[in-house]
């Protein structure tokens, strides 16, 4: 019989097939920190059916908003999202890596116009926007300054 390493959850979200080692980044995207009030299970580096390794995150009483989904799609392009209600999976979907990324990553070029602040400390009224050139490795190019963004995961808004 298959051994359960983690208890099933009653209501909430299971994010499966996260690239191995990225679970903590997923927690960060979901704003899960020391103020957490619900049960969260993190399983890292477990063998997947495809003979490689993956991470899994289970969060009780939480569903993801669209921005969180976009961010997870960027750092874990093969993740699946399972919505659990009363122990049953009521919806299962795969995240899809977008062609364009808007408003969730900031350009790393300090001289990019999207990082420009006026004397009154306001940014230009645009969301940073990138073309996704590849998902593995993740390569984004700023549509404004045309620079490739190295380590986009470090620049999530």
């Amino acid at each position: 019989m298959k051994e359960f390493k983690v208890q099933p959850i009653r209501n909430g979200t299971v994010i499966d097939h996260i690239d191995s080692g990225k679970a903590l980044k997923v927690l960060k995207i979901m704003d899960i920190d020391e103020t957490v009030k619900s049960t969260v299970s993190v399983i890292m580096h477990v063998q997947s059916a495809k003979n490689d390794y993956k991470d899994i995150v289970k969060v009780e009483d939480k569903e993801l908003n669209p921005k969180e989904l976009q961010k997870i799609a960027l750092i874990a392009p093969h993740a699946t999202i399972n919505i659990i209600r009363d122990y049953d999976v009521v919806k299962k979907s795969r995240v899809s890596a977008p062609d364009r990324v808007v408003g969730i990553v900031r350009c790393a070029n300090p001289n990019c116009i999207t990082n420009s602040k006026t004397d009154l400390h306001t940014y230009e009224p645009v969301d940073p926007e990138f073309v996704v050139e590849s998902t593995r490795p993740l390569k984004l190019r700023c549509i404004y300054c045309d620079r490739e963004l190295e380590n986009p995961e470090e620049h999530l808004v």
């Binding site: 350009c107 070029n109 001289n111 990019c112 116009i113 999207t114 420009s116 006026t118 004397d119 009154l120 306001t122 940014y123 230009e124 009224p125 645009v126 700023c142 549509i143 404004y144 300054c145 045309d146 620079r147 490739e148």
Partner: protein
Amino acid sequence: MPPYFYFFPKWSITTLNYPCHFSSLSMDMLDMKGRDIVSIGDFTVDEIEGILDLAQNMVPIAKGEKTSKILDGKILAAFFFEPSTRTKLSFESAMLRLGGGIIGFANPKGTSASKGETLADTIRMAEAYSDVIVLRHPREGAARLAAKFSEKPVINAGDGAGQHPTQTLLDLFTIRSEKGAIGGLHINLVGDLKYGRTVHSLAHALAMFGAKLSFTAPPELQMPDHVIKDVRQYGIEPEIHTSLEDSVSDSDVLYVTRIQKERFPDLAEYEKVAGAYRIDLDLLDKAKSDVIIMHPLPRVNEISPEVDDTRNAKYFTQAFNGVPVRMALLSLVLGVSE
């Protein structure tokens, strides 16, 4: 210091309604009304050829040998957030030669920008007051952002260390008009290839045209890897040189850029490096007799003044060529060239 606002009334002179004989093929292909000119990478080779054809037809007007009023009633907003000499003056000359008017500023001090206005709002205001906007700004991506906020066409006159497409077009125009073609020529980019904004876009465009490329620079100022990768995608494998003496002999074009003192920690090192990339008559003796020498200017001492009087020196012609090329662009994006 108060901002330098300027306004030139339209010239009222006897004019031709039409510049001259445009190549009908190019003009049919080129519908650029309302189009932004942000990056050279936004254009195809055919479009660039069409722009250069039209610029060629603009030369007599740019020289004042013919007159034109095709931009009569049109207003250019020239917003220069950074200093500029050639770009600013040649845009002004281009607009005036075609009968249009100009508003704008050459120094953002005292404008709304210095009061905390965003560039987006400044551009919305420019859009309301003019038909075409020319923008120079210290930040990369400024022109792309401006284009987003303006229905009127935006022409990038340099954004930080980013793009300067009108400079690239006038460089291409100079090469084509002096040598008859661009593809197949051996073009040698010399000097500060790391920080020089003009050489990055130019290398991209030359690769699109199938030119053979050499990059001659001290190792610390050599062409960045991303530009080398960029030209390789067009099937061009650039030659990398550190010695100008080694690379000069079979070059058709020497495109020289300024090596800036501030790139070097000590003056002696700068002087040693700068001296090794100086063009003088001795070096010209080692080059092809019909090599042309270009420079985006301003030059300091990388081209000896004795070279100015040779038939190889084309850098002042190149500076003039900014006018017909910008005339062509203004008329195209304003949709009045046909």
